[in-house]
Assembly symmetry: C2
Homo-oligomer: 209 residues x 2
DNA sequence: CTAACAGCGTTACTCGGTTCACAGCTGCCC
DNA sequence: GGGCAGCTGTGAACCGAGTAACGCTGTTAG
């Protein structure tokens, strides 16, 4: 009934947009740009220009009338807000088709998140996959505690998802990205984000006509 | 700037919830249940009971005071609303890590969507992957036209996503599920749903503390 | 010099979605 | 039988995210 998580008073949409802004700004910066206007950033994120300005306002950041927002300072502000405390260890459970894809993605494309892999299939564990050591599932709690892992990614089959995420939580994880098509029932202090590919496909199929 | 798609006057959130309801009801039905109450359905979907009742009201469906909603009739109503016209062919472009996972998922777990696979890597094409024939990318437009495919799934690297989705659209696709971390610029009549795993992870990391 | 212009910051408002509150109905128990 | 408990249906209130509108500042062209 309740939306569960308190969101710490921050709207998830805002966080999503900030994350988008950051990526776009990083790319723009890498391409040599030094500053950008709210409407440029907006267009690149499919958002209105006022929305960009307002979001940056809530961050307490101001641009200049003449040249818009300088990219580097703005990036610093966003980083500070999103809590860029360097690399974030992530417990990735279930190294099947999807888990493997996420693993590869994190290793190659997303150095900020460093995955630690777990599976229960002995054919996958005790070896290196995509440059990451894969632990058997019964080592998971210890590994999470030792490395102070707070974020978990659940890529196990649907019937296992509830149990696995409970294990994650009792080991200390407080945020879960869930790919299994089930609703997880976890303590209220745990933030759960479910990516339900089936539902997304149904939605596309519905609006397609 | 504009929200682009008209949504045909229907809220995407509603469609998501209906899709969830349907899945839960199917499982409940398979487990032998014959009817359910709004609060049960609500709990299973992390939604309030009034929300369920209101959603069903907009579908024009009524339950009984005594035993709630009968599962089978309700399923029929939801199917009719979501436009369950049997199987939906889907053009899946990019059979790398992620594309492969989606392919396997659709074939094994989601018979309603039947994927047709495309890639540009000759090592992947002209052969059967997970029971599906994989076409080379230059056969894509023809195949989409021949089979009247309306839904596309984009699993190619970010720099290719814009071009590939344009190809999909000119071939007749009007709805795209995009996994590439870029914003696509497409005609307004095309419905685009982007699943951005990076952003989702950042969100979880943010609310984790 | 100054007038037109372009972009930012901010306040007030709009609008869609969610929830409240309550009425109506049905079965059950005393 | 009559109250009671529990569920559905729904008008109205509520809430929050997004938007429009406006004033401000600095820049540029005439
Ligand atoms: N593949 C997709 O594109 C896709 C799409 C939508 C949803 N999903 C969901 O994601 C999940 C994973 O999908 P998949 O295609 O990778 O499945 P998969 O069968 O390929 O992989 C599942 C993996 O989880 C491991 N596993 C199972 N139980 C475990 C446990 N208790 N502890 C640790 N590891 C365990 C298995 O050994 C296997 O390696 C499923 O819930 C699926 O419904 C997948
Ligand atoms: N793997 C993940 O978990 C993950 C997570 C988030 C986002 N993504 C995004 O999903 C996309 C795919 O990821 P991936 O890990 O599967 O990458 P990948 O490199 O494993 O696969 C990409 C596939 O696309 C094919 N391809 C490239 N250009 C093509 C073209 N023009 N036409 C047809 N096919 C083409 C390649 O041959 C390859 O098979 C990327 O945009 C990635 O950023 C992936």
């Amino acid at each position: 009934m309740a939306p569960a998580t308190k969101n710490r008073g921050v709207s998830p949409r805002l966080v999503e947009r900030l994350s988008l802004y950051r990526r776009v700004l990083q790319q723009a910066g890498a391409a040599g740009a030094r500053a950008t206007y709210s409407h440029e950033l907006a267009a690149a994120c499919r958002v209105s220009a006022v929305q960009v300005r307002r979001d940056l306002m809530t961050l307490g950041h101001s641009g200049s009338t003449t040249s818009g927002y300088e990219i580097q300072p703005l990036l610093s502000v966003i980083d500070a807000y999103l809590g860029d405390t360097g690399s974030v260890p992530v417990a990735l459970v279930g190294i099947g088709h999807l888990g493997r894809a996420v693993l590869a993605f994190l290793c190659w494309r997303h150095p900020r998140f460093v995955p630690v892999a777990f599976d229960r299939d002995p054919r996958l564990t005790e070896r290196v996959l995509d440059g990451v050591w894969c632990f058997p599932i019964d080592r998971m709690a210890d590994a999470i505690r030792e490395q102070h892992i707070r974020v978990g990614v659940v890529c196990v089959p649907a019937p296992e998802a509830q149990r696995v995420s409970e294990q994650l939580v009792t080991a200390g994880v407080t945020g879960i990205l869930n790919f299994a098509p089930v609703t997880l029932f976890l303590p209220n202090h745990v933030f759960v984000e479910t990516i339900d590919i089936s539902v997304a496909l149904e939605k596309v199929a519905f609006f397609t006509r």
